[in-house]
Every structure is written in C-alpha cells, then in structure tokens.
C-alpha cells in the first residue's frame, strides 16, 4: 500500500465521475478542457465539495460487499492457547538498533512506543536489556537469599514468596541509558530508538520491607546489594532507605508471572530508579554499610562530566516526557485534526502537568492527562492539534510534584556535556515538514 493511501479508507466520497455530466466528460475526453468546460468543471466540483444533494457516492465495498470473515465459520476457542496479537500488527515489535552493541547477549531491544496506547506496556513488547543473555530458570530450583547485616540470614523458595502477603503496583521502568544516543546529535530515526528503553507495568510481589524486617536488618545499614542468578551475576548497590519505602521482590507482571526476559521467576522492583537496579533473576539481597562499586556502577552506568569526573551511583530517573505520536519516522498525510499523544513520568514522584509546544518551545499549552498520575508510573498525555500543512517543531515538557521541570537539551548539555551517556531526560523535538513527514531534530 502506498504511503498516503490509508487515510481515506472507510471515508464516503463523491464518486469522481458522478458529479460531471456524461456530455461534459465526453467533451473533455475528446477535446480537452477549454474555458467553457473549465467553468462547468469548477461548478461541478464546487457543488460536490459543498455536499449538494442528489449526488451519487462510490459505495464502500467493505460495506456493500460481504467480507469473507462475515460469511465463514471462525476459528475454535484455544486455537492459540496463549493469545497472540493480530497478524496485521506484525510491524509492532521490539527492535534492535544496528551497530549499538557488538554482541546480541549484552544488548538492547527497544519498545515500539510510537504505536502503543495508555500506560501499560504489553509484557511481550517490554524492552529487553541483558548483560550476558537471558535465561530460563526453573522456579522449583530458584532461591532467594537474604544475608549481610541481618539478625537471621534467610532462604526463601519461590513457593514461600508466592504464599506471602503481596502487593500489586504500577511503576515505570526506564533504563539509565535511555536516550543515550541523543547526547551529541540526532542519531536514531524513531521514538522506538530514542526512548524505547521505557515501560510501564503492574508489578506484583512481596514488599521488600517485609522480607528485610523478617530477617531483622540492621537499622544503621544504608545499602543493599541485589544479585542476579544469571551468568553475569548482575549486582547493583541499592539505596536501602529508598527501597524500604516501595521496593518489591516481584514475581508478577501485568497479571501473569514475569517473562523470562524480565527476570522470571523473581526480579527486584525499585520504583523511580534506573532499570539496571531492577535486578532480574534475583537470587540474593545483602544488607550492608558500604556501597559495592560493582562493574555496572564503576565501569558502566557512571556519568562522565566535562571535568573528567564520573558521577557514581546515579540512580534516580528524573522527570521526563516524550511525544510518541506523531513522532519521527511517521508521516501526517492529511491536513486536519491530530491528537498529539505521549508519555510523562518522574522517578521522584508523580506527574503534575505536561505542556506541549508546536513551535520549538516558544509557546506552551497544557495537555490533558489521562488518569491521576500515580507516583513513579507513566502518565499518558493528549493534546488537540489541527495541522494545516505548516512546518512545526513538536515538544513536550513535564512538571513533577516536586516542582521539577524537564529541561531543554541545551541546558542539560551546558551542565553535563555530551559524553555522560546516562540520564538524558532532555525535551525531545520532532520536526513536522510541510510534506507531513516527521523527523528527529535537535535545536540550538
């Protein structure tokens, strides 16, 4: 299908020939369009455009002809015992960014934000970021150990945890390196690649505080080491005070057990904190009184400043927003109404307000928020826009409930330079060209 064909589907339009008389069509066919005939044509078009009565219409064959799915027996229940998306949605999948990583095990597959709705990311489209591949763990053989500065070091089976009091809460999960490719310049062509290490899910599990209290954790301790059971044995230092507030030892995601790519059967959920700390395939929690400087907080996930210093233990994901549609790589084909839609979130609390600019940040108007903006969760925003074919520069800007406002890229770069890789929460700009094509740009 050609770009541009789709927007008229299902629309009832005057049949092109039907508002011209047979005589006029015949005359034009034979002798071309002279001034007289041109006037007749103009009149006919004007009448058609005005919706004059008495016109015939090109009937939609999808209505007047019975489609095959209306005249056949459908498939049985449980044809797909685990349901699958419609085959017509095959474009909407996780994708890798070519050349980003040299191995497929320590790599990223990005979430197709441009075509998702609401705030929940389907578990099968949740972005993947692994450090040494993902594994299938037998839950019967998996254990969670709690040790370190505790009165009683403990071991739990997954069955033990499934039996304990649980909570289900919605939190966003964003990789600290989300939008990392955009520090220096516009580098990737769609929002899937600029912002697709982001998800929103309902997580179910046992509050971390319950487990640590059971173990009798040292009240003077301030750190927690979380460790995975995968080959990388992923380890991260967690802020214990923060984790006691809202962290969860999760086994559930969006109503089912975690997907293997998301840490089945256990992962630590650390709301508001970058994804690498949400240790997957969680096997051990150690309470400590010093930070651990693990590989992914000493060699990677350290933010290089222009001074040459590396910011270590950067954890919180500051407030950020992005327009997911229209977004780069898409094309507006028709002039008229569009709903500019996107996501906003804050690792420090809830989204208070989102504003949208269509002129590159000169003027801002408030967007509508869906829902009440729960803390440390994605909030969907919508903004009504009528496009008349003009060039436009689309931006969104979030305010969170601490008073923090998402910065323009230039302000962020002025402070942090362009080599810090992590925690790029700058305002994103999408350029709309008069052709309707949208692309990823950066402003001065």
């Amino acid at each position: 299908m050609p770009v541009g064909a789709s927007e008229q589907e299902g629309q009832l339009r005057p049949a092109p020939e039907s508002f011209l008389s047979e005589k006029l069509i015949s005359e034009i066919s034979h002798s071309g369009v002279d001034n007289g005939r041109r006037d007749l044509l103009r009149g006919a078009f004007a009448a058609a455009l005005a919706g004059a009565s008495g016109l015939t219409f090109a009937d939609d064959p999808n209505i007047v002809e019975v489609p095959e799915w209306s005249r056949s027996l459908g498939k049985s229940v449980a044809t797909n015992p685990y349901g699958q998306p419609s085959p017509f949605e095959a474009n909407i999948i996780r994708r890798q960014s070519p050349g980003l990583t040299q191995t497929d095990q320590a790599s990223v597959a990005f979430t197709p934000l441009q075509n998702l709705f609401g705030c929940i990311t389907p578990s099968g489209l949740h972005f993947e970021r692994h450090h040494q591949g993902w594994v299938d763990i037998d839950p019967r053989r998996h254990r969670l150990m709690i040790n370190g500065l505790v009165k009683e070091p403990l071991v739990f089976t997954v069955a033990d945890l499934l039996r304990m009091p649980s909570v289900s809460r919605m939190y966003f999960l964003e990789c600290g390196a989300n939008t990392a490719l955009e520090w220096g310049n516009s580098a990737v062509p769609t929002v899937q690649y600029t912002h697709g290490m982001l998800s929103g899910s309902e997580w179910t599990g046992v509050p971390l505080s319950l487990l640590l209290e059971r173990a009798g954790y040292d009240r003077n301790a301030s750190y927690l080491l979380a460790e995975g059971a995968d080959g990388s044995g992923m380890t991260r230092t967690i802020n214990l005070a923060g984790a006691l507030e809202d962290a969860i030892v999760a086994y559930g995601q969006n109503g089912e057990m975690l997907r293997p790519e998301q840490g089945y059967p256990l992962r630590l959920v650390v709301p508001g904190v970058q994804g690498v700390s949400w240790v997957k395939w969680l096997r051990r929690l150690e309470v400590g009184n010093k930070a651990y400087a693990t590989k992914d907080e000493a060699s990677h996930y350290v933010d290089l400043m222009p001074s040459g210093q590396l910011r270590q233990y950067t954890a919180i994901q500051e407030a950020k927003s992005v327009i997911t549609a229209p977004s780069a790589g898409q094309k507006l084909l028709n002039q008229g109404y569009y709903c500019i839609t996107g996501l906003a979130w804050s690792g420090r609390g809830s989204v208070r307000k989102v504003e949208v600019s269509v002129d590159g940040g000169r003027n801002w108007q408030e967007a509508r928020l869906e829902g009440q903006g729960s803390s440390k969760m994605l909030t969907r925003f919508n903004f009504d826009w009528v496009w008349r074919g003009e060039a436009a520069l689309l931006q969104s800007r979030v305010h969170d409930d601490t008073g923090y406002i998402q910065p323009q890229r230039a302000a962020l770069v002025a402070e942090r330079g362009t080599r810090s890789i992590y925690h790029n929460n700058a305002i994103q700009t999408w350029r709309v060209s008069p052709s309707g094509e949208v692309d990823n740009v950066q402003l001065g």
């Binding site: 770009v3 541009g4 789709s6 008229q8 339009r13 092109p16 020939e17 064959p61 474009n91 070519p98 050349g99 040299q102 191995t103 075509n115 040494q132 709690i146 040790n147 071991v155 739990f156 516009s186 990737v188 062509p189 899937q192 509050p207 319950l210 059971r214 380890t235 923060g242 507030e245 809202d246 010093k290 930070a291 400087a293 590989k295 000493a298 350290v302 933010d303 590396l310 910011r311 270590q312 229209p326 790589g329 898409q330 094309k331 690792g347 003027n363 801002w364 520069l393 923090y404 406002i405 998402q406 910065p407 230039a410 302000a411 962020l412 402070e415 080599r419 925690h423 402003l443 001065g444």
Partner: protein, 345 residues
Amino acid sequence: MFSWARLWLVCLTFLGCNAYAKDYLSALNELGRTATAAEISAWDIDVRPDFLGLPSGSGSVAQGEVLWLDQCANCHGDFGDSNEVFSPIVLGNITEADIRTGRVAALTDPSAVRTTFMKVATLSTIWDYINRAMPWNAPKSLAVDEVYSLVAYLLNLAYIVDDDFVLSDENMEDVQALMPNRNGMTKDHGLWSVKGVPDVVGSACTINCSVDTTITSFLPDYAMNAHGNLRDQMRDYGPLPGVQTAPTPQLSVSQPAQSDSLNQIPADLLAVSGCVACHQMNKALVGPGFTAIRARYAGADASTYLAKKIKQGGQGVWGSVPMPGMTQLDDTVVAALALWLASGQ
C-alpha cells in the same frame, strides 16, 4: 508499605485481634528458613571496595598471560585492547602522572577512547567481575588463584604493576593505591536519593519564550534507512504510517513502448507500486478507475503529464480527494505506468 509494626497497630485496635495477629505473624514466620553457613559462602561472592569478601589466594602476571591467551584473548585481544566484541580494557591513555594523582587526564579528551582501566576507581570491581561473570560463555568457572592471575595480567597491561608481579589478597590494597582513576569518581550529585537536588531544572516560561529554534542536528538522508525501512516499523494503517526510507525495489520493466505490451495490464507493476490500494480497474474507489483514466487521455500524448501527476500527486482533476505524490517510486516504474495509462484507445 507493609510493616509488622503497622500490622500490630491495626490489629490492636480490634478486640480479640491480638491473638489472631500473633497467630498470623508466627505462621508467616514459618515461611522461609535460616540460611546455612555453607549456603551463604557459596553465594556471597561479592567483593567490596574495602576488600570485604575477598578470598585469600594469589596469581602472577605470567600465569595470567597464559590463561588470558587461552580463555580471554578471543574476545578482548591479546593485550586487552580489542574493541571487536567489547570495549577495550586497556589501550594507553593512562600516564604515570595519572597513577600519581589518581585522576585519568584523558577523560577530559573527547577524542580519547575510554577504557575500563581509565574509568574504574576500585580494584575490587575488576576482581569481583571476572570472578562472577567471566569467561563470557562460561561464567564462574575460574578458580580463585586464576582470577588473581588474570587481574595481575591486566594490571601489567595497564602499566600499573611490573612483569614479575604476583597479586594476592595481601597486596590488593597496595595496588588499589595505584589505580589510575582512583580519585575520579564523585557522589556529589542529586541522583542517589529520591530527595536529591537536581543539577538542571527546566524553564516554566509558556509564552514568547526566548529559545533558539535553529535546527542544529538531524539525520541525513543516507542515515534514514540505517535502522531498516521505517515504513515497516509503524502500524501501516491509521493516520500516521511510517515513512518509506528504503529504496523502492527495482522492477525490470520490459520495453513498454511497444504497442502490444501496452495493451496488457501491468498488474504486477500496479500492485507492487501500491496503486491498487486506491485505484481499481473499472470503477472508482478512492481515486478514479484505470479504465477511466485511460479513456480520458486516449489519443493525447499525455505520458509526460501523467508521470508528473503520479510522482507529484494532485487534487481536483478527478475529485476533491487528494492523491499523495508517489515519490518513493523509481522513475522507470513511473514512466512505464504513465505510458500504459496514456495508451488507451
């Protein structure tokens, strides 16, 4: 947040709940069990910057070199300098001055490749990571002394220790004092705690804000297709289809100027070019039928005009529905389609 204290508080407010809560808590405490010493030692393998958790043992640079060439060099290169599979571990850019000051000066140089030893401040990190995660395809297969020897070899490659050095739990602290970037980390930022102070806050201005809207960066045309055809990465119906970034497949068009072939319907060409999404043969759909177009331009030398209309699109000739320009189509394909459309009898 769930807490035992809160549960007690809630329960104590209800008559008779005390006994219930006591029962409840003791039953809950039956879940999970005490970890044994052997279990803890099997899993508690982390080594902290102050070397808490470091097992005793030792290994030489020479032993490390043998192991390295056998198990590590494939990915990291003989000298840890390869960037084929992973970022380089060592690749120069560390000076004697850096080892003295504990700050790697080259980190301020945007053109310098950043290696592991330029960044890592803590020797424990290197030891811990090799021990828990290497080799890449066989993690946790190295003996303690092997880990020491590999760390010794890497320290030697980074010119931190001499060729005859033997690293052990006894001298790790001495070597830590030589780590080139040991003073290069800072915790002076607002991102550790949820209550931290942000370093950059955006403007609240909403009207006539002073911003520079000059476009300083965008993807050049040649890079637009680097991630594959964007048209195939978006929902392909609805208001926002993906932009065609891949070149249109080249079709072999056989000499369409010959009059015989012109009367044949180029069905493949029409389908592949996407025309049939809006145009049918004999009746109007979104746009006019091909027969009607052929009839209108019969006898006129309209192929150039029609080629232009296909390429640029138009509106008003056949009705108010605009036809978008088929800019993605190859010129040969457009010419063939135009010739056929103009060849009506």
